[in-house]
Subunit: 141 residues, 4 copies
């Protein structure tokens, strides 16, 4: 077998474009959000906290993004019966809260977006706008 395999990486230009798409949608909805973009390793690429967004939702948006990148699927798909056990055993970052979506381009998960401060539905809508801004595959929650 091969020692290496090709992969795609999300650029900072892509990350900032996704961020801008999320902010524009949040402004349209009239909701202040924290928006986090991570790479496929769950490491922070870009972030913004909008005026009036809840301060602690920075951390929830981060946890949502990291979880979506890790699991390569929208957050909120874990079995509710397991979610707290997984959250604790996963070191605190693993969350089942709505608002985290993987960034999938050309069939590869190259990162994720996490949004926090609105309702769950608003968080998801803003996260989908981030995906749309960079032509990533839409992720129905």
């Amino acid at each position: 077998m091969a020692t290496t395999k090709p992969s795609l990486k999300l650029t900072h230009e892509g990350a900032l474009k996704a961020l801008a798409g999320a902010v524009a949608k949040a402004e349209e909805l009239g909701v202040a959000q924290n928006v986090t973009i991570v790479d496929d390793g769950g490491n922070l690429l870009a972030f913004v906290r909008m005026d009036g967004a809840k301060l602690l939702s920075r951390e929830t948006s981060m946890s949502k993004a990291i979880t979506a990148a890790s699991h390569r699927q929208p957050t909120s798909r874990l079995n509710p019966a397991d979610e707290i056990k997984l959250a604790i055993a996963g070191g605190g970052r693993l969350t089942n809260l709505e608002g985290g979506l993987p960034i999938v381009i050309a069939g590869q998960c190259i990162g994720a977006v996490g949004v926090g401060s609105g309702t769950g539905a608003q968080d998801v809508e803003v996260a989908r706008a981030a995906l749309a801004a960079i032509d990533a595959e839409d992720q129905k929650p």
Copy 2:
């Protein structure tokens, strides 16, 4: 659009006045309390642990204050179905325990008070006394 926007800051004199109001109410109720005052960024402004107050309730009073400042509303308003998920994904500071109230003056949230060591009802009563001492908007729990 603008780079800055005007806002209000809570002074240390205001914070100490709020602290004194809380202590006076706690003495009237005969309950020893931890009282934490934070600014709108969740950073500690003033604190007192009264004689006999539970030591670890320092941390709960801190979490209550930070949460109330972050969310700009009394703690204990989160959906109980989400509160543990939010607490974990929010890094531990986000709490739904009673006893955290935002400090709102002239319509702006300029900080928060968190009280811990009594019953939930006592904690809220003492936190409301802190608000009253500086003419902040009352916060019904």
Copy 3:
């Protein structure tokens, strides 16, 4: 004396403009950077990690920004004889590394920028570009 005092807040629009100014300068210099913008309370407002920037320099850029906001002056002005003691006693965030500058507008420190991944001189140059992008006072290191 007063319970509150007026102040200015950095908007997310201002923070994103500062971020873009820093990225443009880093591209011009041909150096990949981590750029962190915090508010006056040291809380994260905006961030980007450029393609190829050192991963761990995210944390140094964060520490530089928080220190510059805390001390309202460029990092690297502490007495070298004290800097390690201060770093440890300050909980790890307090740093004397070059590359953190306060954001001062209308005479008020409303936040700070921290840059990390290049040389100290590059970090400072990129941080100054962030300030210039929002017409903040220049900060000679």
Copy 4:
């Protein structure tokens, strides 16, 4: 030998009086300070951050107070050759920075005060004012 021995405890009334003494002296000097009062166990009793005090000096004032309570002597008396080793091995709180003084009454160390944000000399002067406010033994640095 006996199972118990009598001791003195600093009350919250004493702690708040010490805090007020420190604030009054800091205002007289025209320097904004973080003032931390801990009990003989190094646990937080009272705190205030004055308008304009350095945010991260909250942590240094805390470290100074805990160290002075622990060692029952003013900070800055450690052998400089050992201070960094002690700081690290001591878990980060042990510091040799000026500005931490034990609170000694009737020959017993019942707590400590830590002050941070000014120069070392200002920090010590403000800490001594805290001691004077509660008739504790003066501590020449």
